[in-house]
Symmetry: C2
């Protein structure tokens, strides 16, 4: 059983190293990304959409060239456990999702995924075992066309220097940067002398 | 010259492997994250905020335990080239930013960063050389307190099954998932038979 070009064991090591813990969502995410790639035409470039920010984006970042920073991975916050890989010009792609109708054979996965058990009531080993057993059998596949403009990050456009903080910012945001317009999460900002 | 626990060369290899290209923003990002970590109290856990989605989040993901999927990295879309590392309970942290006042000594970096030159007018080798020469000298450091609630992703809360698509979704979103409420980027969704 492979996850893309890795053995399952290798993939679990990558998950621990990148994500920090062997999260159930990353293991299912491995099967999701692998199955999506199996349905893509070979040798095509693709972009990725992840329909939740929780766990799943890391499976995409570990297994594909798409990352948050390079912009090939977009996240939409639908809270659905699904990844779409698509050709960026045509928008044609494949969407793989966790199919709730297929959960009944793996009750520990079902109860974790639908939050029917609190964390301290879950059997972590059984959960990981059932995820590995189930593999692709938890998943559904759809051919989709996606409007990439709706999910991709927007171009930054021209840059100016904010008259308030003196840092560069996108001029499309207005005559000050968004931080200085009042969205700042910071208090007590204090310069540190150069060492 | 090191970037966290890596040599500069090692770091450039990691950048190419994870991000795909040796992007200038990732190189400056390496110095930013490294300098922020040098200003943290030793042995403390921390979360990260990145003030732009462009490039910089990948420097954080390569160099720290914080990723998009594990939730320890948050992105706020201010379009400022800055990273804050903070202790999650107190919100006390350090913010490192690209200081526009320090750009004059490295004109190729200035023209790239402030978008004074089109891509085909830039000298890519000179740009990377100046970034490496400049290192920390382009950066400013601030002690900050951050309101983590303003930047961290919200808890998912109870989960239900969407009556429209039959997929699991966060009930706080309403009586259907956000995709089925009309935010969908998809057209032509077509089920693929199990192989």
């Amino acid at each position: 059983m492979n996850i893309c070009t890795y053995s399952y064991e290798e993939y679990t090591h990558l998950v621990k190293s990148f994500h920090g813990t062997l999260a159930p969502g990353l293991l299912i995410g491995g099967f999701i990304v692998d199955l999506a790639m199996k349905h893509l035409p070979e040798g095509k470039f693709f972009d990725a959409v992840c329909e939740t920010p929780v766990c799943l984006p890391d499976a995409v970042q570990i297994l594909t060239p798409c990352t948050i920073g390079n912009g090939w991975l977009s996240i939409v916050n639908f809270g659905r456990f699904a990844v779409t890989l698509y050709e960026k010009y045509s928008g044609e792609g494949v969407r793989v999702y966790l199919d709730t109708k297929k959960l009944e054979n793996w009750p520990e996965v079902r109860d974790w995924y639908l939050k029917k058990k609190k964390k301290n009531e879950q059997d972590a080993d059984l959960l990981l075992t059932q995820i590995k057993e189930a593999g692709y059998n938890l998943l559904g596949v759809q051919k989709v066309r996606i409007d990439a403009e709706k999910v991709r990050r927007k171009k930054m456009g021209p840059v100016g220097v904010c008259p308030s903080c003196n840092e560069a910012y996108p001029l499309k945001d207005g005559d000050k940067c968004r931080n200085c317009q009042g969205e700042t999460p910071y208090s007590n900002v204090e310069s540190v002398q150069d060492k």
